[in-house]
């Protein structure tokens, strides 16, 4: 992405670093805030090139709104999946039917694909094994019957519907 200016990328890095500083110090004392700002400006000068490719466009209000909505949504999905896996661990018969399934994603950007892979891995019961372009290979602890068809397209559709689709509608807006 060469079209994003260096100033925009630099400013974005400064803002993010400064926010992290504010969270870690949790103080509004002018000395602390001033020193944090100074450090952010210095550190960002060295790191902005590898820190971001999108620059300030990442802070578009629509993206931030979706990100804020994504957090509770993701936490809820994570809690439900946790309970599901906890049930499988505690059940005497150990009801697991694992397999590696094939999903396709509609996300385009690398950061978006990374976030999707991370979200899938963080949700218990599914782990991203490999990503190749828009192909995701996911180890699933309970492969449902519908995904066990011989038809490749049908399989991909069912698997994507279950694993990637719920996260994609948010990540598509946040990362593109």
């Amino acid at each position: 992405m060469g079209e994003v200016s260096k100033a925009s990328r630099y400013l974005y890095t400064v803002i993010i670093l400064f926010l992290i500083w504010l969270m870690l110090t949790a103080s509004l004392d002018p000395q602390e805030v001033g020193f944090g700002l100074l450090l952010s400006l210095i550190v960002a000068a060295f790191t902005y090139e590898i820190f971001t490719t999108g620059g300030l466009s990442n802070l578009h209000p629509r993206r931030i709104a979706y990100m804020l909505a994504y957090l509770p949504y993701f936490l809820w999905a994570m809690i439900m999946a946790n309970i599901d896996v906890a049930y499988r661990v505690l059940h005497p018969a150990r009801p697991i039917r694992p397999g590696i399934v094939h999903c396709k994603t509609v996300l385009k950007s690398d950061v978006g694909k990374l976030s999707l892979a991370n979200s899938i891995t963080l949700t218990p019961g599914t782990i991203t094994l490999d990503v190749d372009d828009d192909n995701y290979f996911i180890h699933w602890i309970w492969v449902p019957d519908e995904a066990l068809t011989g038809d490749e397209e049908e399989h991909v559709k069912v698997a994507s519907e279950n694993i990637t689709r719920p996260f994609e509608k948010f990540l598509k807006v946040i990362f593109g």
Binding site: V85, V89, A117, P124, V131, D133, H139, V143
Partner: protein, 130 residues
């Protein structure tokens, strides 16, 4: 004893309970892939519960302040961003090393994909990485 300490203690208790479950899962699951599945539980609800619990717990004590909560939130955020990468690297390394799936596994689309994309199993390695 007030609402914050009670909520914090409950969250820490919940976190340790999920730590226990994932340890139990490590013993009960049949192969490395399913063990990874249960061990991600400890990283998510276990750690999140303990970390958020400590932050909220501190609000209710006389030495604690809101600074505890923001610090623990930052820790939780970094944990959520970095943990899945190591999980992904581990399970991928296990697969590339040739560790077989459990005999009860029903499907392995990755092996089919590797076969289809040419005899050279290294081809899909090039792109798609973060």
């Amino acid at each position: 004893m007030n609402a914050f300490t009670v909520l914090g203690e409950l969250l820490v208790l919940l976190g340790t309970f999920f730590y226990f479950l994932s340890t139990l899962g490590l013993i009960r699951m049949p192969d490395v892939y399913n063990r990874m599945q249960t061990s991600t539980k400890s990283a998510t609800l276990g750690s999140l519960g303990v970390i958020a619990g400590v932050g909220i717990w501190a609000l209710g004590t006389d030495f604690g302040s809101a600074a505890w909560l923001t610090k623990t939130m930052a820790i939780a955020l970094f944990l959520l961003m970095t943990n899945p990468i190591s999980a992904h690297a581990l399970i991928r390394a296990a697969y590339k090393r040739g560790i077989p799936l459990w005999h009860g596994s029903v499907v392995d689309k990755y092996a089919e994909y590797l076969e289809k994309s040419g005899g050279d199993g290294e081809t899909p390695e090039g792109g798609g990485e973060e």
